[in-house]
């Protein structure tokens, strides 16, 4: 009987081989996916299943010095549409119809606004009222994501718009105090990690971890809303009256450096804010700290204070005014081309004589003059805490390009530039007894855990107390010693100095275009309030005494009486209009 030998057919071998190769291929592919590409697919899977959201803490409020809110936070919702989910036309139509009455927009418009894109989120509604947002969340519509967020609310309308600034679309401060105090107002955002379904919605009871945001704080400013309001009204009124291009008014406590009001024009209005309009970018800066100007004759009080502090002159020191001061490199004349003969230092300030200021500066000498300017804070930031602060330009005798004539022009405030805040801070040094006080606008930071008050900071002593007292007397003579001075205030002794400066242009100064200013404080014997009024390019009048001083005279009594500062003497109490 023949023995049958088991023979594997070649077909079976081929099939087996194919199966083996296929199996090896699959195993290889599996190994590639699971081992080689593990990291990549792990990240993809996490991205698919793990949602990450930035959680902003509620933004802090901005309060005035009495606790009245200037900027508040309101909870709102942003509503997004997941375009991928809304590719289902019927589903999209039904969802849009459900959203329509809540958003007060036709369903067709909602669908049309989605655009032709098929992927990505579309911002359907921003800063939606919280109750409306909650209703949308409750609807649970597929592909509709309602994100809790907030918006700013300004109870006082456009008051202090330029000072407060605004937020960007990401709810981070972009300009003004909103940007400068971002750390306090914004807190530190947290992160929410959550498990999500294929629609991107959180899975109930799925993985959820919240890294808590660090809470923000409210900030209390030194600004007083009432004073700020009347300052803005006065500034707008003066600009309109004199056909000016703009201006700045600052009200400050000279003893503490607390800024009670600060307004600049041109500026923007919060109610008309349009971040897409690039032509308005120029309006977003705070001109009181960022724009430089030549202070003009207000600088004469600084020159005089320097000379008195050095013991070179006293109020009764005289010089002979011939109407012209000749210095190397040029001649200086008085603003009214007058020649006053023998003139005292007090009269130099009263009549605002350029030749007198030049004579005083010559007595001081350039080294000491510029040393004092530096001590008064010119050429350096005040560190008030407002963004965009300029340092100013002071060219000293040690700088290249300085000429002796510069000392002469600098003595009466030309050829030197400063910010309005630097100028009022320098004059405040005279008002407060000789200390350079750091101006500040932040009074208190209030969080749930702590109330942090900011104390006034005295930077340095600039002039002696007796020099300051002497200067106060001389400045009081400038205003109260002149019955026709337009800066006089009924009921209060006022000390002050006017300034009229020309605007420098390439090659010289623009003729007939001036900056009119007045720096004054009251009561003159015990100053509690100092005001700087600066009006740019007034058309109908040009002199500080005619343009800026009357603004001070209208503003000061309202501020003084509001702040409860008693009139100086019963005889000065006003008894009628």
């Amino acid at each position: 009987m023949p023995v049958r030998v088991a023979r594997v057919s070649w077909r079976l071998l081929l099939l087996g081989s194919l199966l083996l190769v296929s199996a090896m291929g699959l195993v290889g592919r599996l190994a590639y996916l699971q081992i080689v590409s593990h990291g990549h697919y792990e990240v993809e899977a996490e991205d698919e299943h793990l949602g990450i959201e930035k959680v902003l803490p509620p933004r802090g409020d901005i309060l005035d010095r009495n606790g009245y809110p200037l900027a508040l936070t309101l909870d709102t919702y942003d509503v997004f549409i997941d375009r991928k989910v809304w590719q289902d036309t019927e589903l999209a139509r039904r969802s849009a119809e459900s959203l329509s009455p809540l958003l007060d927009r036709p369903a067709e418009e909602i669908l049309r606004d989605l655009g032709p894109e098929t992927e990505g989120d579309y911002l359907l509604a921003s800063s939606l009222d919280y109750t409306v947002g909650e209703k949308i969340v409750a609807l649970g519509l597929p592909g509709v994501k309602a994100m809790s967020t907030f918006k700013r609310f300004y109870p006082e309308g456009d008051l202090a718009s330029g000072l407060l600034g605004f937020l960007g679309r990401d709810r981070v401060g972009l300009a003004g105090l909103e940007a400068d105090l971002e750390q306090e107002l914004g807190g530190i955002p947290g992160t929410l990690y959550f498990e999500r379904d294929s629609m991107g919605n959180p899975i109930p009871f799925g993985y959820r971890r919240l890294e808590e945001p660090q809470p923000s704080a409210d900030v209390k400013l030194t600004i007083d809303r009432y004073v700020q309001r009347i300052v803005e009204q006065q500034l707008d009124s003066a600009i309109k009256k004199y056909g000016a291009s703009g201006g700045t008014i600052i009200v400050m406590n000279p003893n503490t450096g607390a800024i009670v009001a600060m307004a600049s024009r041109p500026s923007f209005k919060l109610s008309e804010l349009n971040l897409n309009d690039e032509s308005k970018m120029d309006l977003y800066r705070n001109r009181a700290v960022s724009d430089l100007y030549e202070p003009g004759s207000v600088m004469k009080v600084v020159t005089m204070a320097t000379a008195i502090d050095l013991g070179l002159v006293n109020p009764n020191t005289t010089y002979v005014d011939t109407g012209v001061a000749t210095v190397p490199g040029g001649t200086i004349e008085n603003w009214d081309f007058s020649a006053n003969g023998t003139t005292t230092m007090t009269q130099v300030l009263q009549k605002s004589l350029n030749t007198g200021a030049v004579w005083v500066a010559e007595q001081i000498g350039p080294e000491r003059f510029y040393e004092y300017l530096k001590r008064f804070g010119f050429g350096e930031q005040t560190h008030v805490g407002l963004g965009g602060e300029a340092e100013g330009n002071v060219r000293t005798s040690e700088d290249p390009g300085w000429y002796p004539v510069d000392l002469a022009t600098n003595s009466f405030g030309q050829g030197i530039s400063a910010t309005p805040l630097q100028m009022i801070t320098a004059v405040a040094t005279i008002a407060n007894g000789g200390q350079l006080i750091q101006p500040h606008i932040l009074q208190e930071v209030i969080s749930k855990d702590e109330h942090r008050s900011l104390e006034p900071v005295a930077i340095r002593r600039v002039i002696s107390e007796s020099t300051a007292r002497t200067l106060r007397g001389m400045m009081a003579e400038v205003v109260d010693g002149n019955p026709s001075h337009l800066g006089r205030v009924s009921g209060y002794h006022v000390a002050g100095k006017t300034g009229t400066s020309f605007i420098s242009i390439p090659g010289g100064y623009a003729p007939d275009i001036t900056i009119a200013s007045f720096a004054g404080f009251a009561p003159a014997d015990d100053p509690q309030v100092i005001v700087l009024v600066k009006i740019d390019k007034p058309q109908s009048e040009s002199l500080g005494g005619l343009v800026a001083a009357p603004v001070f005279a209208e503003l000061a009594p309202r501020v003084l009486s509001y702040l409860g500062i008693k009139p100086d003497a019963p005889s000065m109490v006003q008894q009628g209009g």
Partner: protein, 146 residues
């Protein structure tokens, strides 16, 4: 019985068998009941935790919602105390006008305390009394591994 028989020692009692079949049914039933009880407790515990978690989230949502309402009310109060609105009321409703003249008088009296807006911050939260344990939790606490 013969005499020899008496000489052979007799066992004291009847010899027992070396092993005896044990009825395992009660033991199995008991083990089953214990396992079932443990599993039931586990289910109850999970259910309880889920319910509590759900309640917590609801309460958190309520808190956020109420906080939003507080912010809204604060904004309304602020809007009502704004200077623009006060001036509008004074001029429009009360018919007041700007003073034509200023009269400054010295009054020897203390001014009234300034009335500010309502307190900005929520007062200190009183500590909630801990909720009594449910019977399941009391039962669970008896277990050594809980």
């Amino acid at each position: 019985m013969s005499a020899f028989d008496r000489l052979i020692p007799r066992p004291l009692s009847r010899p027992r068998p070396l092993s005896q079949p044990v009825d395992l049914r009660p033991l199995l039933l008991g083990a089953f009941l214990v396992i079932a009880l443990v599993l039931l407790l586990q289910v109850i515990q999970t259910s309880d935790a889920t319910t509590t978690g759900y309640s917590l989230r609801n309460l958190e949502q309520d808190r956020v919602s109420l906080q939003a309402q507080v912010h809204q009310l604060e904004a309304e109060v602020a809007a009502l105390t704004s200077m623009e609105r006060i001036e509008g009321e004074a001029r429009g409703r009360l018919g007041m006008v700007s003073p034509a003249e200023t009269l400054t008088l010295e009054v020897h009296a203390q001014p009234p305390a300034q009335q500010l807006i309502p307190q900005r911050y929520i007062p200190e939260e009183t500590k909630a009394t801990p909720k009594a344990d449910s019977w399941q939790q009391r039962l669970l606490r008896l277990l050594p591994f809980y």
